[in-house]
């Protein structure tokens, strides 16, 4: 495997499309339910946790992009090979691929659960999961450009849904945000860590980087994308704090959908039904990007055909996500994945960028000393 990799020109895309990708990969089905988990620890200061987590994300993205710029044109799989050698690199790559596999499965299951609870209690889970994976395969066959096209579409859906959250504001009690910083710093920090589960996914930039045409703009558009999803998370968090009473918020599993229940237009009511079903487009982008990341790994390491691998990966995810049924199981799985999320999209990339920085410094010194020696 070559460490540096430049794809053909017609597979490349412009950096500003990263904005949509990052937004979509960070905002998924999680945006319906995350408020509660943060509120559990940070209380009505949960929005501070969201801001804090957002800032940390910005920092992590900065580190990741800096690291990628050092290499020129490579992805995570290549960096692993370069830094850790073939054996350890393969192992780490497999870990990441396994992680993405689990994330895909849990994303599917979460979305299906939302549908089952809110729209069709008797809808068989396998049907939606199979339908979703059919869409994944169909779009995945179109390659990275189609996937990113879906991200643009998903972003439009997110944007329009975000406007719907204006309606609950009419019932807002703004004093519920006060007093600021009543929760102690430790709990706020804890909330920020929990936020990691929702914000993760941006590390996909590690894999998309070689495909960017104008790489010098990567930093700007990635940061903008992160900023956009941070704003959306912050706004929904604040709205749910001012809209719900504390115990309402703690009791409801999907506060964001609950908020939509209040919306009423003269020609249409109960928009949560539409939002939940249209959210399929947003959920799909997450699935697409994650499965793409996995198949990309196979392609990079062993040069296996991405299309066949996509089918195999989809079959595995279907089997995996069908293996849990009850809400408690899914919640357990979410918690478990959440821990890995924080580790693999925040802590590890930060660590890796430090290692890469050291390695590069070391190599430079070696090269220069060698140069001096020869002189």
């Amino acid at each position: 495997m070559d460490i540096r990799y430049t794809p053909r020109k017609n597979f490349q895309f412009h950096a500003f499309l990263l904005f949509f990708v990052i937004c979509n990969v960070q905002i998924g089905v999680g945006v319906f339910s995350y408020e509660r988990y943060i509120y559990q620890v940070s209380g009505h200061d949960a929005w501070i946790s969201v801001v804090l987590a957002g800032l940390i994300t910005h920092l992590t993205v900065w580190l990741i992009v800096r690291m990628l710029e050092r290499y020129g044109s490579t992805d995570l799989y290549g960096i692993h090979y370069d830094v850790f050698g073939k054996l350890a690199g393969t192992l780490l790559n497999c870990l990441y691929m396994l992680y993405y596999l689990c994330v895909t499965a849990i994303m599917m299951r979460n979305y299906v659960e939302v549908i089952q609870v809110w729209i069709f209690p008797d809808l068989p889970a396998w049907l939606v999961i199979v339908l979703l994976s059919l869409l994944t395969i169909y779009a995945g066959y179109g390659g990275i450009r189609v996937i990113i096209g879906m991200c643009v579409l998903g972003f439009i859906v997110i944007l329009f849904t975000a406007f719907l959250f204006y309606s609950p504001l009419k019932y807002a009690i703004w004093t519920q945000l006060l007093p600021v910083m009543e929760t102690d710093a430790w709990h706020v920090m804890n909330g920020a860590v929990r936020m990691g589960f929702s914000l993760s996914g941006f590390e996909l930039i590690l894999l998309l980087y070689p495909f960017i045409r104008n790489k010098e703009r990567t930093m700007l558009h990635t940061q903008l994308g992160v900023a956009c999803s941070n704003v959306i998370y912050l706004v929904t968090m604040i709205i749910s704090i001012v809209y719900f009473s504390p115990s309402q918020l703690l009791r409801s599993i999907w506060p964001s959908i609950n908020m939509l229940k209040i919306i009423k237009y003269p020609y249409l009511e109960r928009l949560e039904f539409i939002v939940v079903s249209v959210w399929m487009l947003v959920a799909l982008t997450g699935l697409l990007l994650n499965t793409w990341a996995i198949t990309r790994g196979f392609k990079r390491m062993w040069n296996w055909n991405q299309k066949t691998m996509l089918v195999i990966v989809s079959i595995i995810t279907v089997a995996l996500s069908l293996s849990f049924e009850a809400h408690s199981q899914i919640a357990q799985m979410n918690k478990w994945i959440g821990k890995w999320n924080v580790a693999l999209s925040f802590v590890y990339p930060m660590l890796l960028s430090c290692i890469v920085a050291i390695v590069f410094a070391f190599r430079r010194r070696k090269a220069s000393s060698k140069g001096e020696g020869s002189r």
């Binding site: 004093t175 006060l178 007093p179």
Partner: protein, 379 residues
């Protein structure tokens, strides 16, 4: 090719799964309003106003009543009586009678929000008297009682003094201890149904009632937009101080003047003056449009409008203070002074009973500022 193959797979899947439970509109008995009467043995009399379609039957409205211990039990019993399955998704109004509060059976209403079929804009109201009677009375001029009650409550909550009480608001206020409920109350009077006032709650008990005027104050203090036709009677003897008396054109011998004005805009601000002794200052600012004065009043003279303003301000301040005193007396903090206190004083950890004990002892000073924007089409 792939597209075709894809569609065929999709169709096969659909055929395999084509047994989802459907809710075809005309094969449902659609619940529009539901009412709960509590009985002494802690069971309910549940009355439902429904819409259902039956071919060749003109009347598609129906009301049924059942006895049940829980609301889900009532649902089951109603299903046994109805031609189609009962559907909750279009529920608009929940009516409760006074006994529910007396017998502490309010939790049944809370349970409703667990069902995703219910919307959060469902309105809650109290019926003075029996709910069953209100819903099942054979009205001559109302086709569907549920729809009627819904539109009656809807426009009064939106444009009038009726306090906004949706299911969301209901559970919200019940959940936090620093705010009490104020629920609109309605009554059947012969053929008609009318909104009578506002029930003030302390915890789960009805402790008092507020008049429409007080309802208006309540809404304004909460910061909700209301337009209101305010009627006030001013004693002529009380007019001297403000100087209003000298502008009355002719004296017809009556000793009071009736003034009606329309509230264009009003804004309420609550200030916490002293967190130790819990002192609040309530300030209402009202922009008004004079609609009616029972005697001829010379607006054109200098100072006339000022005098009227002073007089009305005094009157309204008195009315507001009266209402605030009443709230403290019955110990029903439906405005949310406690919420204000909690938000401004960090680390209070206001426990349930703590604020309820503190509220009657607090002192609240009300004041009303007035701006007369217009005097109608004549001066």
């Amino acid at each position: 090719m792939k597209g075709l193959r894809f569609i065929s797979v999709f169709v096969i899947l659909l055929l395999l799964s084509g047994c989802l439970k459907t809710n075809v509109l005309e094969r449902l008995s659609i619940l529009v309003a539901i009412g709960y009467d509590a009985k002494e043995d802690n069971t309910f009399k549940v009355t439902a106003a429904l819409m259902e379609s039956q071919p060749d039957v003109k009347d598609m409205n129906r009301t049924v009543s059942v006895d049940a211990a829980t609301s889900k039990g009532a649902r089951r019993k109603m299903n046994e009586m109805l031609p189609h399955e009962i559907a909750n998704g279009q529920l608009r109004v929940i009516l409760l009678d006074r006994n529910i509060f007396r017998l502490k059976m309010l939790n049944e209403v809370d349970v409703l929000s667990r069902d995703p079929a219910f919307g959060d804009m469902v309105m809650v109201a109290i019926v003075d008297g029996s709910v069953q009677d209100l819903l099942t009375y054979p009205y001559k001029n109302k086709s569907n009682i549920g729809v009627t009650v819904n539109s009656l409550l809807d426009h009064n909550m939106k444009w009038n003094w009726g306090p906004l009480m949706t299911l969301h608001e209901f559970t919200h206020s019940r959940d936090i201890h620093t705010k009490e409920l104020a629920i609109p109350m309605m009554k059947r009077e012969g053929e008609e149904i009318a909104l009578k006032g506002v029930a003030l709650l302390h915890g789960d008990h009805i402790v008092g009632e507020a008049t429409p005027r007080e309802g208006y104050f309540l809404k304004t203090m909460k910061g909700e937009k209301t337009s209101f036709l305010y009627e006030t009677v001013i004693k002529k003897s009380a007019m001297q101080a403000s100087g209003m008396a000298q502008f009355l054109a002719m004296n017809d011998g009556k000793d009071e003047v009736k003034v009606v004005f329309h509230v264009i805009q009003s804004k309420g601000t609550i200030k916490l003056l002293d967190s130790q002794n819990i002192k609040f200052d309530v300030n209402l600012h009202i922009d008004m449009d004079i609609q009616e004065i029972s005697e001829r009043y010379s607006f054109e003279k200098t100072g006339a409008v000022e005098a009227l303003k002073r007089q009305l301000s005094k009157e309204l301040t008195a009315h507001l203070q009266q209402f605030l005193d009443k709230l403290r007396k019955v110990n029903s903090d439906c405005v949310g002074f406690g919420e204000k206190y909690r938000s401004l004083v960090p680390h209070t950890k206001l426990e349930n009973e703590k604020w309820r004990e503190a509220f009657p002892k607090s002192s609240i000073q009300g004041r009303v500022d007035i701006d007369i924007i217009r005097t109608g089409t004549i001066e």
